[in-house]
């Protein structure tokens, strides 16, 4: 249950369930989002409204992992991977908001052995 999304089931935050203190491991974040650029047109020739993520960040028990300042060029369904290390058990949580005001968040816990 710890690794279940808390909000917005359209995302995955993948961390190993158990690590050693200070061990480096990967945190993988996948968000299902169209990231519409506003440059595309539909079959009628009408511009498809732009809808890019406007904010995206992740923290570990309140400490920032990353904060995206600009993300215009992220692909549809953005996928980001980072190398992190933690000293005690805690929870990674990511949150984001797009241009249409849709917000989402997801969290995943990691347990430090010993």
């Amino acid at each position: 249950m710890a690794n279940e999304p808390t909000l917005g089931r359209n995302a995955r935050l993948i961390v190993p369930p158990l690590v050693r203190a200070g061990e480096e491991f990967l945190v993988k974040l996948l968000i299902q989002h169209p990231m519409e650029t506003g440059f595309r047109r539909d079959v009628n020739g009408d511009v498809i409204e732009a809808n890019l993520l406007e904010s995206l960040s992740m923290d570990f028990d309140g400490q920032p992992v990353f904060i995206a300042r600009t993300m215009h060029a992220l692909t549809a369904n953005p996928f980001l991977t980072f190398v992190v290390a933690v000293k005690q058990s805690g929870t990674f949580s990511a949150r984001w908001k797009d241009a249409l005001g849709n917000a989402g968040s997801i969290s995943a816990s990691v347990r430090v052995a010993g």
Binding site: E24, M35, T37, F39, R40, R41, G45, M58, D59, F60, Q63, P64, V65, F66, I67, A68, R69, T70, M71, H72, A73, L74, T75, A76, P78, F79, L80, T81, F82, V83, V84, A85, V86
Partner: protein, 148 residues
Amino acid sequence: MNALPRRRALQGLATLPWWFAALDAAAQAAVAPLDARVKSVPAVRGGLSLDIPALAETGTSVPIVLFVDKSALGSRTVTRLGVIAPENPRPVALEIELGPVLAQPRLTTAIRLAAKQRVIGVALLSDGTLWQHAVEVELTGTACFDGT
């Protein structure tokens, strides 16, 4: 007839260099867009590597890895990693602030590219140093413009 002056004005705008904003970059370095900051300093690669395919099958998803060799950092840290794609409609493609939880100054993701271009990876260090690594990328398809 009415459209012509406007078109000429737009063409005039288009001939301005895309890094035009760099002119006053020194004055507002902290808030200037990433491309302006990059244009305002000489290109130094330092310990930065931008890993991106030389030939991308499609511009809609080009995998990238940006990483900094920690041994080149000394006592400094990497505060931001970014990507500039000068030929994209929005040239500042990506700028990500790194937090203290990260064990490595490394970012793996995928970006969109509009055209064949020189993609520039950027690392901003804690002492204000900018490192950049430019890589030529060929595309077989564009992400931003369709045939309509």
